[in-house]
């Protein structure tokens, strides 16, 4: 049986006196899209950055598709893709050049990576702009480029931090389709979003974060606790909407 795309155990991270993430444990199973909800400052971005290796946690264990991020960092990183809240792009490269560079970072075969890049550029309606330098891109085009870079190596785990920021409705639709396809292919997706209706329609399971800890976790019916008239917004307001860090 394949290892789950993500297992997080007792993850903690402090910034000075602020406990951004406090003993958080969660997992993402293969074929699953998990929504990561929480008020501003609840610790979503810090968790995603710890899981992706951008920030070193103070305590806890992160395992990506069977590889420990602490003990086998390069293997673990090769098995995940991240779409950060603010994309890490080289302004003076074109999208095509940037994807070619990312393909080299992940040691992808030239022909296969070029085919995959072209496919993603076409799906995300970027082909026409792919030879222009990124400095001239709109926020949405930058976000699409970051999505293409994260999906280029078809990682078992996909992490997305507010991925719909700046995307127009057609692009948002394409992204949601890509995430569903990724999950259908056996990959796991952990997506942080403020858009509760998106989480409600897209995610198989939802984790609500409050002050760095999990306030609630489960499928939508489980969170509704038998009251079908309750929306995710109702649940969120009861459990996580009361604010971020104390």
């Amino acid at each position: 049986m394949a290892a789950p795309p993500l297992v997080v155990e007792a993850l903690s991270k402090r910034f000075g006196s602020v406990h951004a993430v406090a003993g958080l444990s969660l997992d993402v199973r293969g074929g699953e899209i998990v929504g990561f909800l929480g008020a501003n400052g609840a610790g979503k971005t810090t968790t995603l950055r710890c899981v992706s290796g951008l920030v070193t946690p103070d305590a806890g264990e992160v395992t990506v598709a069977g590889a420990s991020l602490a003990r086998e960092p390069l293997t673990a990183k090769a098995r995940l893709g991240l779409v950060p809240d603010r994309p890490f792009l080289y302004e003076r490269l074109s999208a095509r050049e940037f994807l070619a560079f990312v393909a080299a970072l992940y040691d992808l075969p030239a022909d296969a990576s070029e085919r995959r890049a072209e496919e993603l550029l076409a799906r995300l309606a970027l082909t026409e702009h792919a030879d222009r330098t990124i400095e001239g891109y709109s926020l949405g085009m930058r976000q699409k480029t970051a999505v293409a870079a994260a999906l280029l190596h078809s990682p078992p785990l996909l992490l997305l931090d507010e991925p719909l920021n700046g995307l127009d409705p057609p692009a948002a639709r394409v992204l949601k389709d890509l995430l569903r396809e990724h999950a259908r292919g056996g990959g796991g997706v952990l997506v942080s979003t403020h858009l509760l209706d998106v989480a409600e329609r897209l995610c198989d399971r939802v984790v609500i974060l409050r002050a760095g800890r999990i306030a609630a976790e489960g499928t939508l019916p489980e969170l509704r606790a038998g009251r079908s008239e309750r929306t995710l917004e109702d649940v969120f307001m009861e459990l996580g909407g009361g604010g971020g860090l104390p």
């Binding site: 920030v55 390069l74 490269l93 050049e97 992940y106 030879d131």
Partner: protein, 515 residues
């Protein structure tokens, strides 16, 4: 709307950004360095003005010198202030919010003046104020009132004119392009100032009878810098007229900036939102190796960022010309001079190329932690790209120096090997300084490291360069033995290796939190 409160908040923001300089308490370094620069300049001015007094030079000679000091400060500040206004204004992330707020354009401009005050006032206080105070102290004349008006005018005139110029330019071209062009102009002004300082000042100081200083021509009479100098140095009605002219010019420049803001600020918003972007020639293909991918990327980043490229080239030219500037004062044999010139080039390679290599990546350096590459491999490949560029530049410099000094091919090769060895340590140290002190949010190509970082970088380069220069002269004017030609690169590599390892550790441990 509480405009006074907003103004105070922006002033505090500006001070905080200078104080923190990207990281807590880093701002102490610029303050210390600014004080140091002001102290060194104060000593230089005091000695010069007193020497003129002791040599019974007419007071006009001192006044002319003061006028030239003010003129140089005015030109540098004018370009610098325009760049600061464009960087902090039109390309700042909060401009849209400020323009949408119930504020008049002149109030937005005032907010930006308050926010950028530490940056625009800093050079006035470190260059012009020491000149004014030392003149008064050494030669008499002037008073606190005339100094205050002269200094205020020297601050207000370039700021007002620079702001007005920036606003006009922003109506004509996208903000990013204007910023780049002003950065290049600021570099050219810096080059001019540096050349004047390097070639002129040592010769003035070297003349024992101060004939050069006595014969210094007067600065242009229409320049506000001349009026500021006259306000302090002249007497009677002429001083009063000059003082009035300074006050009027300062006020006029600020009024011009405000009027320009009222007329042009609204259009700036739409221009600021227009991004440039250019089409790339040829089809991008994945490089066959990771090293190839890094080299392609580095080439694209450097060659397409033309303000950075021009800044780099001008600095290379300046550093390599440095030994020539002092040559008539301290004659050297050709072989030693060639080595000195190449060591000077390596200082620039470390300070201007290597130290900026990692900050040039901005936030995309996060890929060093995100991708399955590892910090050590990332830094090694970055060092390789920087090193190749260094070899090409050193090769070209060695050839030019060889032709200019009529050196034999063997002597050129010796100088090249010597320069290469010095470059290894300089560039490794530059990469480390860039990794530790680089500012990923830089807007001005010259400010990739911030003031403190640049000073640390320059001091590090000068310190290690001094060791190589001492070695260059210890080897003497004759041919260098083959043993040395093998030992020197080994020495360079011995220094570079642990420094690169330390750089890799810095990159590996760097956190990319959203906070």
């Amino acid at each position: 709307m509480n405009v006074r409160g907003v103004l105070l908040a922006h002033g505090r923001m500006g001070l905080r950004s200078v104080w923190h300089a990207g990281r807590p308490r880093r701002g102490l370094m610029p303050l210390v360095l600014a004080t140091l620069v002001a102290s060194v300049l104060a000593m230089t001015f005091t000695v010069t003005f007193r020497a003129l007094g002791a040599a019974s030079a007419p007071s006009e000679a001192s006044a002319r010198l003061l006028g030239w000091a003010f003129t140089l400060a005015l030109v540098l500040l004018g370009l610098g202030d325009a760049l600061v206004v464009v960087s902090a204004g039109a390309t700042a992330p909060d401009l849209e919010r400020l323009l949408a707020a119930p504020l008049r354009p002149r109030q937005v401009l005032s907010l930006k003046f308050a926010e950028t005050l530490p940056r625009t006032l800093g050079p006035v206080l470190t260059i012009a104020l020491p000149a004014a105070v030392c003149y008064t102290w050494a030669r008499g004349g002037g008073n606190a009132w005339s100094i205050a008006v002269a200094i205020a005018a020297l601050w207000a005139i370039p700021l007002g004119l620079g702001s007005a110029l920036a606003l006009v330019l922003l109506r004509l071209a996208p903000a990013a392009r204007v910023r780049e062009s002003l950065a290049v102009l600021a570099t050219v002004a810096f080059v001019a100032g540096w050349l004047a300082n390097t070639f002129w000042v040592p010769r003035l100081a070297a003349s024992t009878d101060l004939a050069s200083l006595r014969a210094i021509p007067p600065p242009p009479p229409w320049s506000p810098a001349t009026w500021a100098a006259d306000a302090m140095a002249a007497s009677g009605a002429r001083a009063a007229e000059a003082l009035a002219a300074c006050g009027l010019a300062g006020a006029g420049a600020l009024v011009l900036a405000i009027a320009s803001a009222e007329r042009l600020m609204a259009g700036v918003q739409s221009r600021a939102a227009v991004a440039a972007g250019s089409r790339v020639r040829g089809r991008a293909r994945r490089a066959p190796t990771l090293t190839g991918a890094f080299l392609r990327r580095d080439l694209a980043l450097f060659s397409r960022d033309w303000p950075v490229l021009l800044d780099l080239l001008s600095r290379l030219a300046l550093w390599s010309a440095l030994p020539l500037a002092i040559l008539p004062l301290a004659p050297l044999p050709a072989r030693e001079l060639a080595r000195d010139m190449l060591v000077a080039v390596t200082l620039s390679l470390g300070n201007d190329v290597a130290a900026r290599a990692l900050p040039l990546e901005r936030a995309s350096l996060a890929w060093a932690r995100l991708a399955p590459v590892g910090g050590a491999r990332w830094v090694r490949r970055r060092a390789l790209g920087v090193g190749l560029l260094g070899v090409v530049i050193l090769g070209a410099a060695a050839s030019i120096v060889g032709v200019a000094l009529h050196l034999s091919p063997r002597a050129v090769a010796e100088a090249f090997v010597f320069g290469l060895s010095a470059a290894a340590s300089a560039m490794a140290l530059g990469l480390l300084v860039g990794a530790v002190l680089g500012d990923p949010d830089w807007r001005d190509p010259r400010a990739m490291l911030g003031l403190g970082g640049r000073s640390v970088s320059a001091a590090t380069m000068l310190a290690q360069g001094a060791v190589w220069l001492a070695l260059a002269h210890a080897l003497g004017p004759g041919p260098v033995g083959i043993g040395w030609l093998v030992a020197l690169p080994c020495l360079g590599a011995l220094v570079a290796w642990p420094v690169l390892a330390a750089t890799a550790r810095v990159v590996e441990r760097r956190e990319f939190s959203a906070r």
